[in-house]
Protein backbone atom coordinates (compact mmCIF):
# COMPACT_ATOMS: atom_id res chain seq x y z
CA UNK A 1 0.00 0.00 0.00
CA UNK A 2 1.38 3.40 -0.93
CA UNK A 3 1.57 6.15 1.61
CA UNK A 4 -1.11 8.08 -0.27
CA UNK A 5 -3.49 5.13 -0.08
CA UNK A 6 -3.02 4.64 3.62
CA UNK A 7 -3.63 8.38 4.23
CA UNK A 8 -6.74 8.16 2.17
CA UNK A 9 -8.15 5.07 3.84
CA UNK A 10 -7.50 6.29 7.39
CA UNK A 11 -9.76 9.30 6.91
CA UNK A 12 -12.84 9.11 9.12
CA UNK A 13 -16.19 8.03 7.64
CA UNK A 14 -18.63 10.86 8.21
CA UNK A 15 -22.24 10.06 8.99
CA UNK A 16 -24.96 12.69 9.23
CA UNK A 17 -27.37 12.73 12.19
CA UNK A 18 -30.81 14.39 12.15
CA UNK A 19 -32.36 14.11 15.59
CA UNK A 20 -34.13 17.11 17.16
CA UNK A 21 -32.96 18.59 20.43
CA UNK A 22 -35.97 20.90 20.74
CA UNK A 23 -39.63 20.61 19.70
CA UNK A 24 -42.53 18.26 20.47
CA UNK A 25 -40.71 14.94 20.01
CA UNK A 26 -37.29 16.08 21.27
CA UNK A 27 -37.43 13.94 24.45
CA UNK A 28 -37.31 10.67 22.53
CA UNK A 29 -35.18 12.00 19.65
CA UNK A 30 -32.53 13.01 22.20
CA UNK A 31 -32.34 9.37 23.32
CA UNK A 32 -31.90 8.32 19.67
CA UNK A 33 -29.09 10.86 19.30
CA UNK A 34 -27.36 9.59 22.44
CA UNK A 35 -27.81 5.95 21.33
CA UNK A 36 -26.16 6.86 18.02
CA UNK A 37 -23.26 8.57 19.82
CA UNK A 38 -22.86 5.57 22.17
CA UNK A 39 -22.78 3.08 19.29
CA UNK A 40 -20.22 5.14 17.36
CA UNK A 41 -18.00 5.48 20.43
CA UNK A 42 -18.17 1.69 20.88
CA UNK A 43 -17.31 1.09 17.22
CA UNK A 44 -14.40 3.54 17.30
CA UNK A 45 -13.07 2.16 20.59
CA UNK A 46 -12.98 -1.28 18.96
CA UNK A 47 -10.81 0.09 16.16
CA UNK A 48 -13.39 1.69 13.87
CA UNK A 49 -14.41 0.08 10.59
CA UNK A 50 -11.63 -1.19 8.36
CA UNK A 51 -9.20 0.98 10.29
CA UNK A 52 -11.28 4.14 9.84
CA UNK A 53 -13.09 6.03 12.58
CA UNK A 54 -16.71 7.03 12.27
CA UNK A 55 -17.31 10.74 12.73
CA UNK A 56 -20.82 12.05 13.33
CA UNK A 57 -22.06 15.35 11.92
CA UNK A 58 -25.04 16.16 14.16
CA UNK A 59 -27.49 18.89 13.10
CA UNK A 60 -30.67 19.89 14.97
CA UNK A 61 -33.85 20.00 12.82
CA UNK A 62 -35.99 21.20 15.79
CA UNK A 63 -38.90 18.88 14.83
CA UNK A 64 -39.69 20.98 11.73
CA UNK A 65 -40.12 18.93 8.50
CA UNK A 66 -38.72 21.78 6.38
CA UNK A 67 -35.55 21.86 8.51
CA UNK A 68 -35.07 18.10 8.08
CA UNK A 69 -35.09 18.59 4.29
CA UNK A 70 -32.74 21.59 4.36
CA UNK A 71 -30.31 19.97 6.77
CA UNK A 72 -30.32 16.66 4.86
CA UNK A 73 -29.30 18.59 1.75
CA UNK A 74 -26.68 20.49 3.76
CA UNK A 75 -25.24 17.23 5.15
CA UNK A 76 -24.92 15.71 1.69
CA UNK A 77 -23.77 18.75 -0.29
CA UNK A 78 -21.64 20.68 2.22
CA UNK A 79 -20.54 18.02 4.71
CA UNK A 80 -20.03 15.38 1.99
CA UNK A 81 -22.02 12.80 3.92
CA UNK A 82 -23.47 9.75 2.09
CA UNK A 83 -25.33 8.22 5.01
CA UNK A 84 -27.83 9.90 7.34
CA UNK A 85 -29.39 8.46 10.47
CA UNK A 86 -32.43 10.16 11.93
CA UNK A 87 -35.99 11.48 11.47
CA UNK A 88 -38.82 10.69 13.87
CA UNK A 89 -42.29 11.70 12.70
CA UNK A 90 -43.37 10.51 9.24
CA UNK A 91 -43.52 14.11 8.03
CA UNK A 92 -39.77 14.43 8.63
CA UNK A 93 -38.98 11.16 6.85
CA UNK A 94 -41.16 12.10 3.87
CA UNK A 95 -39.30 15.43 3.66
CA UNK A 96 -35.89 13.73 3.59
CA UNK A 97 -36.65 10.87 1.15
CA UNK A 98 -36.66 12.98 -2.07
CA UNK A 99 -33.27 14.36 -1.06
CA UNK A 100 -31.58 11.05 -0.29
CA UNK A 101 -33.06 9.61 -3.50
CA UNK A 102 -31.81 12.52 -5.64
CA UNK A 103 -28.26 12.20 -4.27
CA UNK A 104 -28.39 8.41 -3.88
CA UNK A 105 -27.62 8.72 -0.18
CA UNK A 106 -28.92 6.33 2.51
CA UNK A 107 -31.28 7.14 5.39
CA UNK A 108 -31.48 4.88 8.45
CA UNK A 109 -34.86 5.38 10.14
CA UNK A 110 -35.21 4.01 13.69
CA UNK A 111 -38.82 4.80 14.58
CA UNK A 112 -42.07 2.80 14.31
CA UNK A 113 -44.21 4.22 11.50
CA UNK A 114 -47.45 3.55 9.62
CA UNK A 115 -46.09 1.46 6.71
CA UNK A 116 -46.94 1.75 2.99
CA UNK A 117 -43.50 2.88 2.02
CA UNK A 118 -40.38 1.49 0.42
CA UNK A 119 -37.43 3.41 -0.87
CA UNK A 120 -34.18 1.93 -2.12
CA UNK A 121 -32.53 4.71 -0.13
CA UNK A 122 -34.08 4.03 3.27
CA UNK A 123 -33.41 1.26 5.80
CA UNK A 124 -36.30 0.97 8.26
CA UNK A 125 -35.28 -0.40 11.68
CA UNK A 126 -38.40 0.55 13.65
CA UNK A 127 -41.62 -1.48 13.67
CA UNK A 128 -44.17 -1.61 10.85
CA UNK A 129 -47.87 -1.86 11.90
CA UNK A 130 -47.88 -5.66 11.68
CA UNK A 131 -45.12 -5.66 14.32
CA UNK A 132 -46.77 -3.37 16.88
CA UNK A 133 -50.34 -2.21 16.15
CA UNK A 134 -51.46 -5.68 15.19
CA UNK A 135 -50.18 -7.58 18.25
CA UNK A 136 -51.48 -4.78 20.47
CA UNK A 137 -54.93 -4.94 18.84
CA UNK A 138 -55.02 -8.73 19.11
CA UNK A 139 -54.08 -8.65 22.77
CA UNK A 140 -56.36 -5.81 23.85
CA UNK A 141 -59.44 -6.88 21.87
CA UNK A 142 -59.13 -10.40 23.33
CA UNK A 143 -58.28 -9.50 26.93
CA UNK A 144 -60.28 -6.31 27.48
CA UNK A 145 -63.12 -6.16 24.94
CA UNK A 146 -63.97 -4.43 21.69
CA UNK A 147 -65.62 -1.17 22.78
CA UNK A 148 -62.71 1.17 22.19
CA UNK A 149 -61.97 4.87 22.62
CA UNK A 150 -59.32 6.19 20.27
CA UNK A 151 -57.22 9.23 20.92
CA UNK A 152 -54.36 10.36 18.71
CA UNK A 153 -52.19 13.22 17.54
CA UNK A 154 -53.62 14.92 14.49
CA UNK A 155 -51.39 13.63 11.67
CA UNK A 156 -51.10 10.76 9.24
CA UNK A 157 -49.50 8.02 11.37
CA UNK A 158 -52.33 7.94 13.97
CA UNK A 159 -55.00 7.96 11.22
CA UNK A 160 -53.43 4.91 9.64
CA UNK A 161 -53.07 3.05 12.96
CA UNK A 162 -56.70 3.84 13.75
CA UNK A 163 -57.79 2.56 10.34
CA UNK A 164 -56.18 -0.80 11.15
CA UNK A 165 -57.68 -0.82 14.65
CA UNK A 166 -61.14 0.22 13.36
CA UNK A 167 -61.22 -2.61 10.83
CA UNK A 168 -60.31 -5.13 13.55
CA UNK A 169 -62.90 -3.74 15.99
CA UNK A 170 -65.65 -3.90 13.36
CA UNK A 171 -64.67 -7.44 12.34
CA UNK A 172 -65.25 -8.50 15.95
CA UNK A 173 -68.58 -6.75 16.12
CA UNK A 174 -67.18 -4.15 18.50
CA UNK A 175 -67.64 -0.40 18.45
CA UNK A 176 -65.66 2.80 18.54
CA UNK A 177 -66.80 4.63 21.66
CA UNK A 178 -65.08 7.78 20.42
CA UNK A 179 -62.31 8.89 18.11
CA UNK A 180 -60.50 12.06 19.13
CA UNK A 181 -57.58 13.81 17.45
CA UNK A 182 -55.60 16.58 19.17
CA UNK A 183 -53.04 18.84 17.52
CA UNK A 184 -49.40 18.06 18.30
CA UNK A 185 -49.12 21.18 20.48
CA UNK A 186 -52.50 20.79 22.23
CA UNK A 187 -52.45 22.10 25.84
CA UNK A 188 -53.14 20.15 29.03
CA UNK A 189 -56.77 21.38 29.13
CA UNK A 190 -57.51 19.63 25.79
CA UNK A 191 -56.29 16.32 27.21
CA UNK A 192 -58.29 16.85 30.39
CA UNK A 193 -61.42 17.49 28.33
CA UNK A 194 -60.74 14.41 26.16
CA UNK A 195 -60.16 12.21 29.24
CA UNK A 196 -63.49 13.37 30.68
CA UNK A 197 -65.33 12.57 27.45
CA UNK A 198 -63.69 9.14 27.29
CA UNK A 199 -64.57 8.41 30.91
CA UNK A 200 -68.23 9.18 30.19
CA UNK A 201 -68.18 6.66 27.30
CA UNK A 202 -66.90 3.89 29.61
CA UNK A 203 -64.93 1.97 26.94
CA UNK A 204 -63.19 -1.39 27.47
CA UNK A 205 -59.81 0.25 26.78
CA UNK A 206 -58.25 3.33 25.18
CA UNK A 207 -56.11 3.06 22.07
CA UNK A 208 -53.66 5.95 22.08
CA UNK A 209 -51.65 7.13 19.09
CA UNK A 210 -50.63 10.36 20.78
CA UNK A 211 -46.94 11.18 20.25
CA UNK A 212 -44.39 13.51 21.82
CA UNK A 213 -45.18 15.99 24.57
CA UNK A 214 -48.87 15.06 24.44
CA UNK A 215 -48.20 11.60 25.92
CA UNK A 216 -47.45 12.77 29.50
CA UNK A 217 -50.47 15.14 29.29
CA UNK A 218 -52.71 12.24 28.24
CA UNK A 219 -51.67 9.85 31.02
CA UNK A 220 -51.82 12.61 33.67
CA UNK A 221 -55.29 13.61 32.47
CA UNK A 222 -56.45 10.00 32.82
CA UNK A 223 -55.18 9.82 36.37
CA UNK A 224 -56.73 13.23 37.06
CA UNK A 225 -60.27 12.20 36.05
CA UNK A 226 -59.90 9.00 38.09
CA UNK A 227 -59.70 6.30 35.41
CA UNK A 228 -58.24 3.03 36.74
CA UNK A 229 -55.56 1.67 34.37
CA UNK A 230 -56.10 -1.88 35.70
CA UNK A 231 -59.72 -1.75 34.54
CA UNK A 232 -59.55 0.57 31.52
CA UNK A 233 -55.92 0.84 30.42
CA UNK A 234 -54.42 3.02 27.75
CA UNK A 235 -52.89 0.80 25.07
CA UNK A 236 -50.25 2.37 22.87
CA UNK A 237 -47.43 1.48 20.50
CA UNK A 238 -45.69 4.85 20.95
CA UNK A 239 -45.57 5.37 24.72
CA UNK A 240 -42.12 4.35 25.90
CA UNK A 241 -39.78 4.67 28.89
CA UNK A 242 -38.80 8.13 27.56
CA UNK A 243 -42.32 9.49 28.11
CA UNK A 244 -42.82 7.57 31.36
CA UNK A 245 -39.75 9.34 32.75
CA UNK A 246 -41.50 12.67 32.02
CA UNK A 247 -44.98 11.76 33.32
CA UNK A 248 -43.91 9.88 36.46
CA UNK A 249 -44.17 6.19 37.38
CA UNK A 250 -47.35 6.60 39.47
CA UNK A 251 -49.25 7.98 36.46
CA UNK A 252 -47.89 5.38 34.02
CA UNK A 253 -48.40 2.28 36.17
CA UNK A 254 -50.84 -0.27 34.78
CA UNK A 255 -50.95 1.06 31.23
CA UNK A 256 -49.95 -1.15 28.27
CA UNK A 257 -47.53 -0.70 25.39
CA UNK A 258 -46.61 -2.94 22.47
CA UNK A 259 -43.04 -2.41 21.26
CA UNK A 260 -40.15 -4.39 19.89
CA UNK A 261 -37.96 -3.45 22.87
CA UNK A 262 -38.32 -2.59 26.55
CA UNK A 263 -35.49 -1.55 28.87
CA UNK A 264 -36.49 -4.40 31.21
CA UNK A 265 -35.48 -7.15 28.71
CA UNK A 266 -32.84 -9.32 30.35
CA UNK A 267 -30.75 -10.36 27.33
CA UNK A 268 -26.96 -10.02 27.86
CA UNK A 269 -26.85 -7.69 24.83
CA UNK A 270 -29.40 -5.40 26.48
CA UNK A 271 -27.89 -5.45 29.97
CA UNK A 272 -24.51 -4.53 28.49
CA UNK A 273 -25.82 -1.77 26.21
CA UNK A 274 -27.94 -0.20 28.97
CA UNK A 275 -25.01 -0.28 31.45
CA UNK A 276 -22.67 1.40 28.97
CA UNK A 277 -25.36 3.96 28.07
CA UNK A 278 -26.03 4.90 31.67
CA UNK A 279 -22.31 5.06 32.47
CA UNK A 280 -21.88 7.45 29.56
CA UNK A 281 -25.05 9.60 29.80
CA UNK A 282 -26.25 9.25 33.40
CA UNK A 283 -27.59 6.54 35.70
CA UNK A 284 -31.09 8.02 35.56
CA UNK A 285 -31.33 7.83 31.73
CA UNK A 286 -33.96 5.29 30.64
CA UNK A 287 -33.75 3.56 27.27
CA UNK A 288 -36.68 2.89 24.91
CA UNK A 289 -37.67 1.22 21.60
CA UNK A 290 -36.45 4.13 19.45
CA UNK A 291 -33.18 4.27 21.40
CA UNK A 292 -32.61 0.58 20.78
CA UNK A 293 -33.28 0.79 17.02
CA UNK A 294 -31.00 3.84 16.77
CA UNK A 295 -28.26 1.91 18.61
CA UNK A 296 -28.44 -1.38 16.71
CA UNK A 297 -28.84 0.24 13.29
CA UNK A 298 -25.48 1.99 13.78
CA UNK A 299 -23.82 -1.36 14.53
CA UNK A 300 -25.54 -2.94 11.50
CA UNK A 301 -24.35 -0.05 9.37
CA UNK A 302 -20.77 -0.39 10.67
CA UNK A 303 -20.88 -4.09 9.83
CA UNK A 304 -22.09 -3.31 6.31
CA UNK A 305 -19.34 -0.71 5.79
CA UNK A 306 -16.78 -3.24 7.03
CA UNK A 307 -18.02 -5.82 4.51
CA UNK A 308 -17.74 -3.55 1.47
CA UNK A 309 -14.85 -1.42 2.77
CA UNK A 310 -16.66 1.77 1.85
CA UNK A 311 -19.54 4.07 2.74
CA UNK A 312 -20.71 4.12 -0.89
CA UNK A 313 -24.52 3.68 -0.73
CA UNK A 314 -24.59 1.71 -3.98
CA UNK A 315 -22.24 -0.87 -2.45
CA UNK A 316 -23.98 -0.84 0.93
CA UNK A 317 -27.36 -1.48 -0.74
CA UNK A 318 -25.95 -4.81 -1.91
CA UNK A 319 -24.97 -6.10 1.54
CA UNK A 320 -27.57 -4.57 3.86
CA UNK A 321 -30.47 -6.82 2.77
CA UNK A 322 -30.23 -10.04 4.76
CA UNK A 323 -27.74 -8.63 7.29
CA UNK A 324 -28.32 -9.81 10.89
CA UNK A 325 -27.29 -8.45 14.30
CA UNK A 326 -27.68 -9.50 17.94
CA UNK A 327 -29.66 -6.48 19.10
CA UNK A 328 -30.78 -5.93 22.71
CA UNK A 329 -34.28 -7.21 21.72
CA UNK A 330 -32.79 -10.38 20.16
CA UNK A 331 -31.40 -11.23 16.74
CA UNK A 332 -32.72 -8.87 14.05
CA UNK A 333 -32.42 -9.10 10.28
CA UNK A 334 -32.88 -6.64 7.43
CA UNK A 335 -35.38 -8.15 5.01
CA UNK A 336 -34.01 -9.02 1.57
CA UNK A 337 -36.90 -7.44 -0.31
CA UNK A 338 -38.44 -4.54 1.58
CA UNK A 339 -35.57 -2.82 3.51
CA UNK A 340 -37.55 -3.19 6.74
CA UNK A 341 -36.37 -5.27 9.71
CA UNK A 342 -37.45 -8.56 11.29
CA UNK A 343 -38.22 -7.60 14.92
CA UNK A 344 -39.45 -9.16 18.19
CA UNK A 345 -42.86 -7.77 19.26
CA UNK A 346 -43.52 -7.59 23.02
CA UNK A 347 -46.47 -6.50 25.10
CA UNK A 348 -45.62 -4.82 28.37
CA UNK A 349 -47.47 -3.36 31.31
CA UNK A 350 -45.88 -0.53 33.31
CA UNK A 351 -44.99 -1.56 36.87
CA UNK A 352 -44.59 0.58 39.99
CA UNK A 353 -40.98 1.42 39.07
CA UNK A 354 -41.93 2.70 35.58
CA UNK A 355 -40.54 -0.40 33.89
CA UNK A 356 -42.40 -2.71 31.52
CA UNK A 357 -43.46 -6.13 32.77
CA UNK A 358 -43.50 -8.31 29.66
CA UNK A 359 -46.96 -9.94 29.57
CA UNK A 360 -46.81 -11.26 26.01
CA UNK A 361 -44.19 -11.93 23.39
CA UNK A 362 -44.11 -13.20 19.81
CA UNK A 363 -42.73 -16.77 19.72
CA UNK A 364 -40.21 -15.73 17.05
CA UNK A 365 -39.04 -12.61 15.24
CA UNK A 366 -41.65 -11.18 12.89
CA UNK A 367 -41.06 -10.16 9.29
CA UNK A 368 -42.15 -6.59 8.54
CA UNK A 369 -45.03 -6.44 6.05
CA UNK A 370 -45.28 -2.71 5.29
CA UNK A 371 -47.93 -3.09 2.56
CA UNK A 372 -50.47 -5.32 4.33
CA UNK A 373 -53.95 -3.78 4.15
CA UNK A 374 -56.24 -6.37 5.73
CA UNK A 375 -54.80 -7.51 8.99
CA UNK A 376 -55.36 -10.65 10.98
CA UNK A 377 -54.15 -10.59 14.57
CA UNK A 378 -51.39 -13.05 15.48
CA UNK A 379 -52.46 -16.16 17.39
CA UNK A 380 -50.01 -15.67 20.27
CA UNK A 381 -51.76 -12.47 21.38
CA UNK A 382 -54.93 -14.39 22.21
CA UNK A 383 -53.30 -16.56 24.86
CA UNK A 384 -50.72 -14.12 26.21
CA UNK A 385 -50.96 -14.36 30.02
CA UNK A 386 -54.46 -13.06 30.81
CA UNK A 387 -53.76 -13.43 34.54
CA UNK A 388 -50.90 -10.94 34.21
CA UNK A 389 -52.99 -8.57 32.14
CA UNK A 390 -55.62 -8.55 34.87
CA UNK A 391 -53.20 -8.69 37.80
CA UNK A 392 -54.41 -5.32 39.10
CA UNK A 393 -57.82 -6.76 39.95
CA UNK A 394 -56.29 -8.69 42.82
CA UNK A 395 -54.63 -5.63 44.33
Amino acid sequence: MTRHDSDHTSEPIRIGVLYSRSGVTAAVERTQLQATILAVEEINRAGGVSGREIELVCLDPQCKPRCYAQLAEELIVEHRVRIIVGCYMSSSRKAVIPIVERHNALLFYATPYEGFEHSRNVIYTGAAPNQNTLPLAGFMLTQFGSRVSMIGSDYVCPYESNRVMSDLILERGGAKANEIYLSLDAPWESYLDAAQRIKECAPDFIFSTVVGEGIPHLYRAFAHVGLDPYRVPIASHMTSEAEIAVMGNDVAEGHITCATYFQSIDTPANLGAVARYQARFGEDQPTNMCWEAAWFQMHLLADAIRRVGSDDPALLQRVLPGLEFDAPQGRVRIDEHNNHTYLHPLIGRVDTRGRFDVIGRAPERVKADPYVVSHTTPAWTADAHPELARSGDAQ
Partner: protein, 200 residues
Protein backbone atom coordinates in the same frame (compact mmCIF):
# COMPACT_ATOMS: atom_id res chain seq x y z
CA UNK B 1 -59.45 14.39 10.64
CA UNK B 2 -62.81 13.49 12.18
CA UNK B 3 -63.07 9.72 11.96
CA UNK B 4 -61.12 7.08 10.12
CA UNK B 5 -63.25 5.55 7.39
CA UNK B 6 -63.47 1.86 6.77
CA UNK B 7 -60.73 0.54 4.48
CA UNK B 8 -61.86 0.67 0.82
CA UNK B 9 -62.77 -2.74 -0.62
CA UNK B 10 -60.32 -2.42 -3.53
CA UNK B 11 -57.38 -2.09 -1.12
CA UNK B 12 -58.55 -5.16 0.77
CA UNK B 13 -58.54 -7.29 -2.36
CA UNK B 14 -55.00 -6.41 -3.54
CA UNK B 15 -53.48 -9.56 -2.04
CA UNK B 16 -55.66 -11.72 -4.28
CA UNK B 17 -55.22 -9.55 -7.38
CA UNK B 18 -53.66 -11.38 -10.31
CA UNK B 19 -51.35 -9.01 -12.17
CA UNK B 20 -49.82 -9.73 -15.55
CA UNK B 21 -46.63 -7.78 -16.20
CA UNK B 22 -45.68 -7.45 -19.85
CA UNK B 23 -42.21 -6.00 -19.51
CA UNK B 24 -38.59 -6.92 -20.31
CA UNK B 25 -36.45 -8.03 -17.35
CA UNK B 26 -34.44 -4.83 -17.11
CA UNK B 27 -34.07 -2.58 -14.07
CA UNK B 28 -37.62 -1.19 -14.50
CA UNK B 29 -38.96 -4.73 -14.84
CA UNK B 30 -37.20 -5.82 -11.67
CA UNK B 31 -38.40 -2.76 -9.74
CA UNK B 32 -41.99 -3.37 -10.91
CA UNK B 33 -41.93 -7.03 -9.96
CA UNK B 34 -40.33 -6.37 -6.55
CA UNK B 35 -42.82 -3.65 -5.65
CA UNK B 36 -45.83 -5.71 -6.81
CA UNK B 37 -44.56 -8.54 -4.59
CA UNK B 38 -44.13 -6.15 -1.64
CA UNK B 39 -47.72 -5.02 -2.15
CA UNK B 40 -48.54 -8.72 -2.15
CA UNK B 41 -50.13 -9.22 -5.58
CA UNK B 42 -50.01 -12.51 -7.48
CA UNK B 43 -47.65 -11.58 -10.35
CA UNK B 44 -46.72 -13.27 -13.63
CA UNK B 45 -44.21 -11.71 -16.03
CA UNK B 46 -44.26 -12.12 -19.82
CA UNK B 47 -42.15 -10.60 -22.61
CA UNK B 48 -42.37 -9.82 -25.41
CA UNK B 49 -45.40 -11.83 -26.59
CA UNK B 50 -48.58 -12.72 -24.81
CA UNK B 51 -51.30 -14.21 -26.98
CA UNK B 52 -53.85 -14.91 -24.30
CA UNK B 53 -54.22 -13.73 -20.73
CA UNK B 54 -53.98 -16.24 -17.87
CA UNK B 55 -57.40 -16.96 -16.35
CA UNK B 56 -58.44 -14.52 -13.65
CA UNK B 57 -56.11 -11.69 -14.69
CA UNK B 58 -57.34 -8.55 -12.92
CA UNK B 59 -54.76 -6.05 -14.13
CA UNK B 60 -52.10 -5.77 -16.83
CA UNK B 61 -49.01 -3.59 -16.43
CA UNK B 62 -47.34 -3.24 -19.79
CA UNK B 63 -44.23 -1.57 -21.16
CA UNK B 64 -44.93 0.84 -23.99
CA UNK B 65 -41.88 0.45 -26.21
CA UNK B 66 -41.31 1.16 -29.87
CA UNK B 67 -41.01 -2.60 -30.39
CA UNK B 68 -44.49 -3.23 -28.94
CA UNK B 69 -46.18 -0.79 -31.33
CA UNK B 70 -46.34 -3.29 -34.17
CA UNK B 71 -47.59 -6.13 -31.96
CA UNK B 72 -51.23 -7.02 -31.63
CA UNK B 73 -52.61 -8.29 -28.36
CA UNK B 74 -55.95 -10.00 -29.07
CA UNK B 75 -57.00 -9.72 -25.41
CA UNK B 76 -56.90 -5.91 -25.50
CA UNK B 77 -59.99 -3.77 -26.02
CA UNK B 78 -62.61 -6.51 -25.61
CA UNK B 79 -65.59 -6.36 -23.29
CA UNK B 80 -63.80 -8.70 -20.88
CA UNK B 81 -60.36 -7.02 -20.99
CA UNK B 82 -58.94 -6.09 -17.59
CA UNK B 83 -57.59 -2.54 -16.99
CA UNK B 84 -54.13 -1.80 -18.37
CA UNK B 85 -51.47 0.44 -16.83
CA UNK B 86 -48.84 1.42 -19.40
CA UNK B 87 -45.22 1.98 -18.32
CA UNK B 88 -44.11 4.95 -20.36
CA UNK B 89 -40.46 5.33 -21.36
CA UNK B 90 -40.74 7.57 -24.44
CA UNK B 91 -42.96 10.63 -24.27
CA UNK B 92 -43.12 11.23 -28.00
CA UNK B 93 -46.48 11.60 -29.80
CA UNK B 94 -46.35 8.12 -31.35
CA UNK B 95 -46.06 6.41 -27.95
CA UNK B 96 -48.58 8.75 -26.33
CA UNK B 97 -51.02 7.90 -29.12
CA UNK B 98 -50.49 4.20 -28.36
CA UNK B 99 -51.12 4.90 -24.66
CA UNK B 100 -54.41 6.61 -25.57
CA UNK B 101 -55.46 3.53 -27.55
CA UNK B 102 -55.27 1.49 -24.35
CA UNK B 103 -57.95 3.59 -22.62
CA UNK B 104 -55.68 3.72 -19.59
CA UNK B 105 -56.80 5.48 -16.44
CA UNK B 106 -53.27 6.10 -15.22
CA UNK B 107 -49.67 5.57 -16.32
CA UNK B 108 -46.37 4.72 -14.63
CA UNK B 109 -43.34 6.72 -15.75
CA UNK B 110 -39.96 5.14 -16.37
CA UNK B 111 -37.57 4.96 -14.51
CA UNK B 112 -39.92 3.01 -12.24
CA UNK B 113 -39.78 3.80 -8.51
CA UNK B 114 -41.46 1.80 -5.80
CA UNK B 115 -43.51 4.76 -4.63
CA UNK B 116 -46.51 5.60 -6.80
CA UNK B 117 -47.28 2.10 -8.01
CA UNK B 118 -49.81 1.29 -5.26
CA UNK B 119 -51.77 4.49 -5.94
CA UNK B 120 -51.66 3.87 -9.70
CA UNK B 121 -53.05 0.34 -9.24
CA UNK B 122 -55.87 1.44 -6.95
CA UNK B 123 -56.83 4.40 -9.17
CA UNK B 124 -56.85 2.14 -12.25
CA UNK B 125 -58.98 -0.53 -10.56
CA UNK B 126 -61.39 1.99 -9.06
CA UNK B 127 -61.85 3.94 -12.31
CA UNK B 128 -62.22 0.69 -14.24
CA UNK B 129 -64.99 -0.39 -11.88
CA UNK B 130 -66.73 2.97 -12.18
CA UNK B 131 -66.43 2.85 -15.95
CA UNK B 132 -67.78 -0.72 -16.17
CA UNK B 133 -70.67 0.29 -13.93
CA UNK B 134 -71.41 3.30 -16.13
CA UNK B 135 -71.36 1.14 -19.29
CA UNK B 136 -73.83 -1.27 -17.75
CA UNK B 137 -76.04 1.62 -16.68
CA UNK B 138 -75.99 3.07 -20.21
CA UNK B 139 -76.86 -0.37 -21.65
CA UNK B 140 -79.83 -0.62 -19.33
CA UNK B 141 -80.96 2.90 -20.21
CA UNK B 142 -80.70 2.18 -23.94
CA UNK B 143 -82.73 -1.01 -23.58
CA UNK B 144 -85.33 0.80 -21.52
CA UNK B 145 -85.45 3.61 -24.08
CA UNK B 146 -85.98 1.09 -26.92
CA UNK B 147 -88.80 -0.61 -24.97
CA UNK B 148 -90.55 2.69 -24.33
CA UNK B 149 -90.27 3.60 -28.03
CA UNK B 150 -91.89 0.30 -29.10
CA UNK B 151 -94.70 0.66 -26.55
CA UNK B 152 -95.28 4.22 -27.76
CA UNK B 153 -95.46 3.06 -31.39
CA UNK B 154 -97.83 0.21 -30.52
CA UNK B 155 -100.09 2.59 -28.57
CA UNK B 156 -100.20 4.88 -31.57
CA UNK B 157 -101.26 1.98 -33.81
CA UNK B 158 -103.98 0.88 -31.39
CA UNK B 159 -105.25 4.48 -31.04
CA UNK B 160 -105.49 4.86 -34.81
CA UNK B 161 -107.02 1.46 -35.61
CA UNK B 162 -109.48 1.34 -32.70
CA UNK B 163 -110.17 5.05 -32.34
CA UNK B 164 -109.42 5.08 -28.61
CA UNK B 165 -107.56 7.45 -26.32
CA UNK B 166 -103.91 6.96 -25.35
CA UNK B 167 -104.86 5.74 -21.87
CA UNK B 168 -107.37 3.23 -23.35
CA UNK B 169 -104.77 2.05 -25.88
CA UNK B 170 -102.33 1.39 -23.07
CA UNK B 171 -104.94 -0.56 -21.08
CA UNK B 172 -105.64 -2.71 -24.18
CA UNK B 173 -101.93 -3.50 -24.52
CA UNK B 174 -101.71 -4.30 -20.83
CA UNK B 175 -104.69 -6.65 -20.76
CA UNK B 176 -103.40 -8.42 -23.90
CA UNK B 177 -100.04 -8.90 -22.22
CA UNK B 178 -101.71 -10.31 -19.07
CA UNK B 179 -103.91 -12.60 -21.15
CA UNK B 180 -100.95 -14.01 -23.07
CA UNK B 181 -98.67 -13.95 -20.02
CA UNK B 182 -96.17 -11.86 -21.92
CA UNK B 183 -94.29 -8.66 -21.20
CA UNK B 184 -96.06 -5.58 -22.43
CA UNK B 185 -93.13 -4.72 -24.73
CA UNK B 186 -93.37 -8.18 -26.35
CA UNK B 187 -97.00 -7.59 -27.23
CA UNK B 188 -96.11 -4.06 -28.38
CA UNK B 189 -93.34 -5.25 -30.64
CA UNK B 190 -95.63 -7.90 -32.19
CA UNK B 191 -98.13 -5.16 -33.02
CA UNK B 192 -95.42 -2.95 -34.48
CA UNK B 193 -94.06 -5.86 -36.56
CA UNK B 194 -97.55 -6.81 -37.76
CA UNK B 195 -98.16 -3.22 -38.84
CA UNK B 196 -94.83 -3.16 -40.68
CA UNK B 197 -95.77 -6.43 -42.42
CA UNK B 198 -99.14 -4.99 -43.49
CA UNK B 199 -97.70 -1.72 -44.76
CA UNK B 200 -95.05 -2.97 -47.16
Amino acid sequence: MKRTAETPAILRTLRSLKVVVLHPQDQDGEELLAQLQRIGCDVEVFWPRLDSLPAGTGLVVMAMRPETLSMTFPWLGTSTSPPVIPVVTYENPIIIEAVLQLNAYTTIPSPVRSSGLLTAIVVALAQFKVSRGRERYIDRLEQKQARLRIIQQAKQIVMETRGVSEEEAYQILRSQAMLKREQIETVASEIVKARETLCF
